[in-house]
Amino acid sequence: MTLELIPITQLVLPIPAPMSDRAWQQAQAYPTIEAKWNAYLNQIASQSITADLAEDFPQIRNSPDTDTWQFVNGSVLELNGKRIVLLPSKAIDCSELVIPQEWVDIPAWAGDYFMAIQIDPDAEMLHCWGYTTHQMMKSKARYDAGDRTYHLDAHHLIADVSGLSVVQQLNPNEVTQTAIAPLSSVAAIQAENLLQRLATVPNPRLEIPFELWGALVSDRQWRQRLVALRQGETAPATDLTTRLGGWLQNAVSTGWQAVEDFLGEDGELGLTFRQTTTPTSSIRRVKALQLPEAGTLLLLVTVEPEADDRLGIGIQLRSIYNTETLPADLTLTLLASDDEVMRSVVTRDRDNAIQLPRFRLNSGSEFKIQVQLGATTIDESFLV
């Protein structure tokens, strides 16, 4: 019945019970009630809206930074070089849109579009009730210094969600942003001090001036360090980059073992790479990753020398036993050194392994592999 109460200019999507259950389960890994709701709502919003927009725009990209939900509501979809920031809420009223300052004033994070989304877990329904651009929002919103949010009255939003699709079809390069002032840069030592200070305060995003907070939270490594510190980790960060070139000279890297060493003579893992023939010149190593939600998973890396000082690289993530399946929504991502997502794969139902398409890189290049499940994100950095 509630559907009748939603104008056809707005978007309504059903939330399938399994999607809701899974998102809720994953959200439980977050430490506070606020972060749990952020995780639940954003997981559902980003999955549902991506699937919906992908019908018209198959090029849409959703690569959620799940650890940002510890601190800030919102998630980003990328379409035609534009950033669409989804802002889900479980509140029953649609009288204003609340936008955390991070999505407006951090240059690397700022959205081009903001989408207002209401999620009702009881009615199992998602309702997207309007959108706006960075520019329109900046000229009309009220800034609340108390919790560093912009508040935009419902009447200032475009209450026609299909408008965004129309603009993306006819004028994908429309000017959407006003100028955003750069943030001050934070030196590594100052960052470490600030992170230590933020490790124990109840609300880190309001603890230090926004300029500093913005610089910290928008840097992936510092953000992950903060998450780790808030979970009670105290050891200082060290350089954990794995040097793949060294493997060819039989150099040892911390945490990595030869496949044979790892499983002894039980060569069951030998069957694991889906490639049928593994050239003999290649080297395979494995590292055990600990995920609180899924126990131990194995990250397998194969390197093989190629012409022109290049390496061919294969990456696979699998469960420790062949009979075990991987959890759903486990993501394996290849990132360039500037954190741009190059490839990403997600587990489907009952996968016991997932892998990235084999790629080649020049000696000296860097890349990262990210494994993400629920609130946990593990990064592995590599140097070719």
Partner: protein, 403 residues
């Protein structure tokens, strides 16, 4: 409802209801005098002209408070009476059984005029009625959705499902002093940051917190209240009492005793705002320009309607059928779903997609013919017009009066 034709009446009278039926027009004497005065200066102005005139007056003072803008808001609220009436009439039949009467719904919608004007882009003044039509219907739907949802909720469920703004609005509407607002707000914050659903995200019938959780809530409140020097420490028992009262205030706020622009308040003296009446600003030049742009606009509108006709003709038969059922027959989506034997979500989706095709056709036409860049601003202006055209296109034959 008798359609108003007299200009002075259009900008100074309000629809009256009796036994839930519209029962003529009541003239506001102050607005009436103000209209008479400005019309003496510019006798040739059309209805559009005066709407734009008051909008311009409003926009020039837009930094002022609503109170300083009472006169402009009053004239424009009078002007939008029919628009509101028809918007409410279109929304209500789709609602099924609701507790609100037509007159209540009308008052809920018309009370949104001040915010509506603040949200309206006055640089495109001609779209005011279309924009208001959209705002009135959306505002009424939002209110009805909220009412329906809180009817499902226990007090504890309701407290979980409201926004900070909804809570504070309800408290302000109950004439709470600042200290009470702060106290209730902090109590609500302590509750929602320490207590929520566990096994599933469903919140409607969540139980009251247990004793252990109350301790957490109490500690959290007493820690946070130190930021508010005027607040003293509180016990869990007190917090519980305040929270249940807050829930009651929110329910009361969503089912209000109607108090809107159409009700005479009588709390300000006439001199209060008639002293700064600005009747001489309607210059003859402005009138001439308005005549020219109006002719141009009418041609454009006719062209756009032709584009719309063409776009509708190009739709496939099922899509056209869907539009007819929705806009002409005013069928509920549930009804359409039953008729076509499809899930309701599918109907809603198809309707949205079909409407998107029409929106795209108009915006694309503007791009090639009028060289208007298809930006989000343009969407914001065109979307309400499209809704208005679709409604009139499909109902011309069945509706005797057009707002």
């Amino acid at each position: 409802m008798r359609q108003r034709t007299d200009l002075i009446e259009i900008f100074s009278s309000f629809l009256q209801f009796e036994d839930d039926r519209s029962q003529g027009w009541a003239i506001d004497p102050r607005l009436n005098r103000s209209m008479r005065r400005v019309i003496q200066v510019e006798a040739n102005g059309s209805e559009d002209f005066w709407a734009i005139y008051w909008l311009t007056q409003y926009a020039q003072k837009s930094t002022a408070t609503d109170r300083a803008l009472q006169q402009e808001i009053g004239h424009l609220a009078a002007y939008l009476q029919e628009t509101c009436f028809w918007a409410v009439n279109r929304v209500m039949p789709r609602m099924g059984s609701i507790q609100m009467k037509l007159s209540d719904c009308f008052q809920v919608a018309i009370a949104d005029v001040p915010k509506l004007l603040a949200g309206f882009d006055a640089s495109k003044p001609t779209g005011l009625k279309a924009f208001a039509n959209t705002v009135f219907s959306n505002c009424l739907r939002d209110r009805l959705r909220q009412q329906r949802e809180i009817d499902f909720c226990t007090d504890w469920g309701l407290l979980q499902k409201i926004s900070r703004k909804r809570l504070l609005d309800a408290l302000t509407a109950s004439n709470f002093e600042k200290i009470l607002c702060d106290r209730y707000y902090l109590a609500w914050k302590a509750l929602t940051t320490n207590y929520t659903a566990e096994k599933s995200p469903k919140l409607r019938s969540i139980a009251a917190p247990d004793a252990q959780t109350w301790q957490l809530i109490e500690q959290s409140y007493n820690r946070e209240r130190k930021e508010f020097p005027h607040l003293t420490a509180a016990t869990a028992k007190e917090l519980e009492k305040w929270l249940l009262d807050a829930a009651k205030k929110v329910r009361g706020y969503l089912y209000p005793t109607v108090n809107s622009l159409n009700v005479k308040k009588g709390d300000d003296t006439e001199a209060d705002w008639e002293s700064d009446l600005v009747g001489n600003d309607a210059e003859p030049m402005a009138y001439l320009e308005e005549q020219e742009t109006r002719a141009e606009r009418q041609t454009q509108q006719q062209q756009m309607i032709a584009v719309l006709h063409e776009a509708i003709d190009k739709l496939d038969e099922p899509a056209r059928q869907l539009l007819t059922l929705y806009y002409r027959d005013r069928a509920t989506q549930q009804n359409i779903a039953q008729q076509l034997n499809l899930p309701q979500y599918t109907i809603s989706r198809k309707l949205s997609k079909t409407r998107e095709t029409l929106l795209k056709a108009i915006v694309a036409w503007g791009q090639t013919t009028l060289h208007i860049q298809p930006t989000s601003d343009v969407i914001a202006a065109i979307s309400p017009l499209l809704e208005e055209w679709l409604e009139s296109f499909y109902t011309q034959a069945t509706r005797p009066e057009k707002s």
